[in-house]
Symmetry: C2
Subunit: 335 residues, 2 copies
């Protein structure tokens, strides 16, 4: 097989079949994908279905802590986990640029396969398109996912109530700054790692111990501030963050300062914001801290009756700063 | 709102929210999409789940008989229908090029919404990314879909048996030639319409009347010849086509001749190949012909014991020509 992607690989003919069998099917192998029909036919346990999709266009495609392939698996798993679902199946749609080195594709596909395997999720269907050189940038990946929500569980951005507290499982802004430092060739490069990770096990532990959780959401594009704005609007409540409680790595804070960015607007790919009633906040933090992805879990804010629909930061010196949704494209192609 | 897409629309912040609420949510509105959480939570009837994905990169994005939006809905519905599933839910992932006119996006999104509505399928989750000008070509759309396969139904490329017959619901090569004639500015332009259509109702009628159907598959990229090669390999049988039975429009045949293409390798987007036992072939044809998308249904070939894994054409003058899988990229960006 040619060691670069050609238009031929997108023809639907012989070369497409070779690419599928030699690259994708080998990496992702499972019984469902092996059916090789137009769609995979899948068993599902009882419950409601959660369904989500995300396209990944991150630049660069390989970065400290992951690549576009592992990110595409983690991101969609996390979207499912945020609705309380146990992720079951993923689909993968590839748009490849003619001339993409096959070695690079294989590295990305291997990372996807490994991420899916570690998360015990099967990639059950896929699609590959190739566009002429210059009509896309290396590789774009779409993953769509399906999971099952256990009966009785009801999470959603509309359920935050005054008095609730806002928890996070670790440091803020790592993914966005890892990408940006790599892209800009900052001297810090390589030090800041993306936090890209699958959160469904952590979330599973949390929901098992604290079914009272009201909202789960992952602060990706737009960061913690934008995500909390969404929740504040959906629930018609205010949210207040405590500056001194925000977990931010020193190197991330330094890079943000250097580039004039606010870490509260920088994307995360392995973080979950949990809004929980105050009575269970200690138990929730304990459970999160027992999981490797939640060791630095902490309470960063609370839900208020005042200022419905708005998010404010209580600064170290006791002042208040309004945190609106992100305006303007802070970091293009961050995921 | 700006009348062209800016990087800002992909930030995840305020502009993204405006785009979602003013363009996507209005067009696709339904209760599931309205949940506005990280994934949609959905009821599913009992049965096995069918799941499929396809990315669409067709060029031009608007063509006689449809556009990339309607195509993206029809294509994934059809992939689900081919496994005997009743399509229920779609996700939509957009990769937009900076500078895309918002009017064009709205036209595409409207066509998606209309196609989904006509097919009684809900678009339940979505995602939008924007890449800088020159890093994609106008718009790429991924649709992933979920459907339910009724208990007991078992279709698949591996079930063709010698003696079975091969049926098709209408003319061959329309979609590919509609795209190619438009792209090349051929004088014929506008006369050849894409056959892009959702086939699940036709397939539903067929399976209700003839549950004995063995294989259903839609001959998209690679065309009828490549799709039948897949079935021949999966089932370990030979397939023989009858040249005089192939339904091909005169203008499609003419355009193919002009461009040196074989219509058997040209993509279709509203056609289904059905492999059925001979005893039910007449009934199957009758049922298909009663549906508006099957009026020209006919038998085009049969499954043989000889030449397992191969497809041959019995020509008008009685000779035989081997039809291999498509080699080389005949028509890039056809879907």
């Amino acid at each position: 097989m040619e060691r670069t992607i050609t238009l031929d690989h997108g023809s639907g003919g012989r070369a497409t079949h070779e690419l599928i069998s030699q690259v994708f099917a080998q990496a992702f192998h499972n019984d469902y994908l092996g059916q090789m029909n137009d769609s995979a036919v899948l068993p599902v346990p009882e419950g409601r279905l959660a369904m989500s999709t995300d396209s990944y266009v991150v630049d660069p495609v390989i970065f400290p802590g992951g690549n576009i392939g592992s990110l595409a698996v983690h991101g969609t798993i996390n979207d499912l986990a945020m609705s309380g679902a146990r992720p079951l199946y993923l689909t993968a749609g590839f748009v490849l640029e003619e001339g993409l080195p096959l070695d690079l594709l294989e590295e990305i596909v291997q990372a996807m396969a490994q991420a899916a395997q570690e998360a015990r999720v099967a990639i059950v269907a896929g699609d590959t398109k190739v566009v002429p050189k210059g009509k896309a940038d290396k590789i774009f990946i779409n993953t769509a996912g399906v999971g099952v929500v256990p009966p009785g569980l009801e999470l959603g951005g509309q359920y935050a109530r005054p008095g609730d507290v806002v928890l996070i499982n670790g440091t803020i802004g790592d993914h966005g700054m890892a990408i940006l430092c790599t892209r800009q060739g900052l001297a810090l490069e390589g030090k800041i790692q993306s936090d890209s990770a699958a959160l469904h096990d952590l979330v599973g532990d949390l929901l098992q111990a604290c079914p009272e959780v009201r909202v789960l959401r992952d602060p990706t594009r737009g960061g913690v501030a934008t995500t909390l704005n969404e929740i504040a609007r959906q629930s018609g409540v205010g949210i207040r963050l405590f500056e001194e409680s925000l977990p931010i790595r020193d190197d991330v804070a330094g890079a943000c300062e250097l580039l004039g960015l606010d870490p509260l607007y920088v994307a995360n790919e392995g973080k979950v914001l949990a809004v929980v009633p105050p009575a269970v906040s200690e138990k929730a933090l304990e459970v999160m801290r027992r999981h490797p992805l939640g060791r630095e879990a902490r309470c960063i804010g609370q839900v208020t009756e005042e200022d419905p629909g708005r998010v404010a930061l209580r600064t170290r010196i006791g002042g208040h700063r309004l945190l609106d949704m992100l305006r303007g494209e802070q970091l293009p192609r961050i995921c």
